[in-house]
């Protein structure tokens, strides 16, 4: 029952943009926390690329490295590898797990971003056309999404990945496989949002004032869709990494690459726990848990922006 009075703009000092963002993140804890975790992982990966020769060390080695694998490591006089050389240990194939993690994080991010952006683009485009123009286009697009929705997409992804010749699977084909059947989510969300927006006053006002379809889409509807687009994008990235992990665990990933999912697969394949190499699957598992956890937190945080109703729950 309280009505908030409008502050006079002159009285309020406008703080810097960055301060505002930080202040907002402190309030929206899940978003802030999720972003912080992602930042940490990114920094880890970048550091790894900088200090170690990941393109060599992350792949099976035929011979012992002639140079220290990273700055922490110092060769003693007999050219033997010292104690600090492999901070995260090595695996059965002689790979430096630190380099594997650094390289793998980068590759995982690549799959996530590639598939995420593509899926969101396709989904948004379809959802938009479907909702904004309606009619036959809408019927077709909606029909296809509705038929595909109940199908466990992962099953089909597994089949596709299994059908492809193992040697030709790369990080990028993996992303394509994942995205092929993953645009339905954004299509549905965007479609329903545009539908509800199309009925709202401001779009009608824009129409009456003689704006063209494209103008309305980009000037009136798009800005209001942004939180949903952001949330859809993060959801797609999450889905892509999730699916690629599932495929990798089935041994369907690009096996030569140190993708994080592949590392887990190989550790399992070599029965690492039975053999006592507990650290081998542990690092990639923790990295994945951090990735998935962070993305979920970000989605929750974005939801808070998109649906203010969820905001005040305490």
């Amino acid at each position: 029952m309280t009505t908030l009075a409008v502050n006079s703009p002159a009285a309020v000092l406008q703080p810097k943009r960055s301060t505002l963002v930080l202040r907002y993140l402190r309030r929206n804890k899940s978003l802030g926390f999720g972003l912080a975790i992602l930042l940490f992982l990114t920094l880890f990966s970048i550091t790894g690329h900088l200090v170690a020769d990941v393109n060599k060390l992350a792949y099976p080695l035929a011979v012992k490295p002639k140079q220290p694998p990273n700055p922490l490591c110092v060769f003693d006089s007999t050219m033997k590898i010292g104690k600090n050389c492999f901070v995260l240990g090595t695996d059965f194939y002689g790979r430096d797990l630190f380099a594997v993690m650094a390289k793998g994080l980068g590759q995982t991010a690549r799959i996530g971003l590639l598939a995420g952006v593509l899926g969101t683009l396709v989904g948004t485009l379809l959802g938009f056309t479907s909702a904004y123009f309606g009619g036959a286009i809408d019927t077709v697009i909606r029909g296809i999404t509705e038929v595909l929705l109940p199908i466990p997409v992962f099953l089909i992804q597994v089949l596709i990945a299994g059908a492809i010749d193992k040697k030709s699977v790369t990080v990028d084909t993996m992303a394509l496989i994942v995205v092929m059947l993953a645009w339905m989510g954004p299509t549905r969300v965007i479609r329903s949002q545009v539908l509800s927006m199309r009925e709202r006053m401001f779009v009608n006002v824009a129409k009456l004032s003689g704006m063209s379809n494209l103008e309305i889409i980009f000037k009136e509807i798009m800005p209001n869709l942004l939180p949903f687009l952001g949330s859809a994008l993060v959801g797609q990235v999450f889905g892509a990494i999730f699916a690629s992990f599932g495929l990798a665990v089935f041994g369907l990933g690009p096996l030569r690459e140190p993708l994080i999912g592949n590392t887990v697969y190989f550790a399992q394949y070599q029965a690492s726990f039975f053999n006592g190499w507990w650290w081998w699957p542990l690092w990639p598992s923790m990295a994945l848990i951090l990735i998935f956890g962070a993305l979920t937190l970000i989605m929750v945080g974005l939801d808070e922006i998109a649906n203010p109703r969820v905001r005040r729950s305490e």
């Binding site: 029952m1 309280t2 009505t3 908030l4 009075a5």
Partner: protein
């Protein structure tokens, strides 16, 4: 006149928001005798609904009842324990909600929503007696007995509002607060619902507080009218006094803003905006919009005082017992 059934004394409610403290109810006092009907009017945000919620002890954080008494039939509700307050709701004081459209649980039959209310107050009553009481209650608001077995979506808006009234009178409360009970209904249904409320009130002999904007409705069926402004009562008078000769300048402005047959087509609003409860003007809260305001009004806060003709007014114009119109 009998002894008052409802005495509200110095009731205070504050909302603690991010933007500061908002005094939603500021030392509100009034009394009501059983059988009396009082209308409560005021602009949106003036604290009408807060008053209803405070009397039901349903103010939720960040709001808090800071002090005062709500004495119903000799019991001060503010001092009751939470458990005792649950029992007092519906049996001493009942609330008929504003949005009757959504006030009934969509997945429960009407009967179940009536019996659970009785059961909460009387765990020993037999099922058949309970059903019978619900049926009677439904009939007394002109609903068929079959409604007992129906779901909310099978009823019209007016019927749902009647069901809410039927629930409100299940335990024969001493005081009924109806929060804009007719706001979402069409004019014909509005009239029928008001007639039902009037009849119920006569049958039970309880006191009724009707919250609303509709001055016409108030004039037709209320005995008294109380005017709220910025969390305070500014005038309480009989309907006749209010409509023929309001004292408080805000009351006067309200009455003048009503359309009437003499000045057809000339609608007068009240200049200015209702103040934010976060920054209530000093002195008399109405002074920035008051045509009769003096310098004193900006400094001195008027108190609600009884006038020689029995009404209560909170305005400096009347504080020195100089009754001038």
């Amino acid at each position: 006149m009998s002894t008052p059934i409802l005495q509200v004394q110095d009731l205070q409610v504050t909302y603690y928001t991010d933007a500061g403290r908002a005094k939603a109810l500021d030392n509100v006092s009034f009394t009501l005798n059983s059988g009396e009907k009082m209308g409560l009017v005021g602009e949106s945000g003036s604290g009408k609904s807060t008053m209803a919620l405070a009397m039901m002890r349903m103010i939720k954080p960040p709001g808090r009842i800071e002090g005062g008494k709500v004495i119903v039939d000799g019991t001060d509700l503010v001092t009751l324990s939470d458990g005792e307050m649950l029992k007092a709701r519906l049996s001493k004081i009942a609330y008929i909600p504003q949005g009757a459209m959504n006030s009934l649980n969509p997945v429960m039959r009407i009967g179940a929503q009536m019996t659970d209310a009785i059961r909460a107050h009387d765990s020993s009553i037999s099922n058949s007696a309970m059903t019978e009481r619900c049926m009677q209650s439904l009939e007394s608001v002109d609903l068929k007995r079959e409604v007992f077995k129906m779901y909310p979506h099978e009823l019209s808006g007016g019927m749902k509002q009647r069901v809410c009234i039927a629930i409100g009178i299940l335990l024969k409360p001493k005081v009924i607060i109806a929060d804009e009970p007719t706001s979402a209904l069409d004019v014909v249904t509005q009239r029928q619902v008001m007639e039902t409320i009037n009849r119920i009130q006569k049958d039970l002999g309880c006191a009724v507080i009707l919250i609303g904007h509709d001055m016409g409705l108030m004039a037709q069926s209320m005995d008294k009218v109380a005017v709220m402004y910025a969390g305070k009562l500014v005038e309480i008078s009989t309907v006749r006094q209010m409509f023929t000769h309001p004292f408080h300048p805000y009351g006067q402005a309200l009455i003048h803003s009503l359309p009437n047959l003499d000045n057809k087509g000339v609608l007068q609003g009240i200049p200015g905006l209702a103040p934010s409860l976060l920054r209530i003007p000093s002195g008399c809260a109405f002074h920035p919009r008051c045509s009769k305001a003096t310098e004193k009004c900006m400094v001195v806060t008027p108190r609600l005082q009884q006038q020689p003709d029995g009404r209560f007014v909170s305005c400096l114009l009347y504080e020195e017992d100089k009754v001038t119109a």
